[in-house]
């Protein structure tokens, strides 16, 4: 029988989260973010958090909700500041911000999940990102040594999941979710649709359940769009 990772609700899913922990939060912009987990973190009011997330949400949604409540001490991201409160906290020094090239961020999460403590990448060589880091040439090209990232909890969002923790993402809502799922000591997956183990085609699973410790079916997804761009029908 498949292992059962299902928990009753978002409250049980977040059992054990504490002040000063490090969290990974999936999503790119507001696309594919774990809305239910974020709401529950706000509700619990835990503080001093380090959040590893490609972006920091907008003022009134996503990680912006945690910023509003000053629950975040440090952001590790590649692109931020679509968010006035973020900017205010950063400029005032209330918020520590560690900016990382997007590809290095993704690969560092994967490395954390894959037991690879460090790897070389060309990204950031010659820039302030490489300061204090080992540089080595391979094939005549300089590369920077980057280290793995892990987290106490990883919060990810998928489209479908089964009780064994297997996940399927939809379109570009996949983004950082699969690597963060690998890198969480406890990975909490919320899904739009939770099905029994065996209901998903084992060929089509994006994140194997082994990476997921807790799974639940989320509710009330807003799935906000940051920039609606359309063309006219002509």
């Amino acid at each position: 029988m498949a292992l059962n990772k299902q928990v009753a609700d978002v409250k049980s899913a977040l059992e054990g989260v504490q002040d000063n922990m490090t969290f990974m939060v999936g999503g790119f912009g507001l696309c594919g973010i774990p809305e239910n987990a974020i709401a529950e973190l706000v509700r619990r009011g835990i503080k001093g958090l380090t959040c590893i997330s490609n972006n920091a949400g907008v003022d009134d949604f996503g990680l912006g909700l945690l910023l509003q409540k000053k629950q975040i001490k440090k952001m590790i991201s590649s692109y931020v500041g679509e968010n006035d409160e973020f900017e205010r906290q950063m400029l005032s020094g209330e918020l520590i911000v560690d900016l990382i090239p997007q590809g290095s961020l993704a690969e560092r999460c994967r490395a954390g999940g894959a037991g690879i403590p460090a790897f070389f990448t060309p990204a950031g060589f010659g820039t302030e990102v490489a300061e204090g880091k080992e540089v080595r040439e391979f094939d005549g090209k300089p590369h920077v040594l980057e280290s793995a990232l892990t987290a106490d909890f990883a919060f990810v969002k998928a489209w479908k999941g089964d009780t064994a923790g297997n996940l399927i993402y939809k379109a570009t809502a996949k983004n950082f979710n699969p690597m963060m799922a690998m890198a969480g000591r406890i990975t909490v997956a919320e899904v739009e649709e939770l099905v029994p183990a065996g209901a998903l085609d084992p060929n089509q699973i994006h994140t194997p359940g082994v990476f997921v410790q807790r799974i639940f079916e989320g509710s009330n997804y807003q799935k906000r769009i940051e920039r609606v761009t359309t063309r006219s029908r002509q």
Partner: protein
């Protein structure tokens, strides 16, 4: 002098059939509107799609389908979605033939600065550092001068760098230039723009050949 759309149009002439292309935010995005006849390319957006199509029809936006600029998009037949690690594996592994992006400054040694202005709010480099450090073929699309009229083509970048020795070609509202042997080499000028105007707008070393044809836009 070229409009932003004409800059995009000129860069589109550089596209070769069968290329995968990553277009940055701003002017580069416009290139997709000017793909020459008979040239077939596929667009990658680094948040996780190959085969990016045009914006959706009104009412058909999908919150789960966006590009790296967080705009709603569509997928072409044959498209594929993937995670961010795979996306940058494509970029870092040089599977993408062309990257076009904007810049605040470009130096005559190929350095580029486009992510940070000291003292101002820093939004982050996003994927730009990975893209410029990895791509074999980078074209910078930008205005020749900044809003204060200062040249963006410099002997040396003054802003924090995004990448070093990586830019090979620049298309501005005034000219097409190549970076070679530590200098900007003027290849083409915008219709009606004189070599003197380009010289005046270029702070770095500019090499001007005997013939500088007008761009065909």
């Amino acid at each position: 002098m070229l409009s932003k759309d004409q800059i995009a149009q000129r860069i589109a002439q550089e596209l070769q059939d069968g290329w995968y292309v990553n277009l940055g935010i701003g002017i580069p995005t416009l290139i997709a509107n000017h793909i020459p006849e008979g040239i077939n390319v596929e667009f990658q957006s680094e948040n996780g799609i190959l085969g990016m199509g045009p914006f959706p029809f009104e009412g058909e936006e999908d919150a789960d389908l966006i590009n790296a600029g967080k705009q709603t998009i569509t997928a072409m037949p044959g498209a594929v979605y993937f995670d961010s690690a795979t996306s940058f594996a494509m970029i870092r592994g040089q599977h993408i033939q062309l990257t076009v992006l904007g810049a605040m400054e470009v130096a005559q040694n190929g350095d580029i600065a486009n992510w940070k202005i000291p003292g101002r709010m820093v939004k982050g480099m996003g994927g730009a550092m990975d893209l410029v450090a990895s791509a074999e073929n980078i074209i910078v699309a930008m205005m020749h001068t900044n809003k204060r009229g200062e040249s963006k083509l410099l002997e040396q970048c003054s802003l924090p760098l995004t990448g070093v020795h990586c830019v090979k070609k620049i298309v501005t509202n005034l000219a097409v230039l190549e970076i070679k042997d530590g200098a900007f080499h003027l290849l083409e000028r915008a219709p009606g723009v004189t070599i003197e105007e380009i010289q005046n707008a270029t702070a770095g070393t500019l090499v001007v050949p005997d013939e500088v044809p007008e761009m065909n836009v």
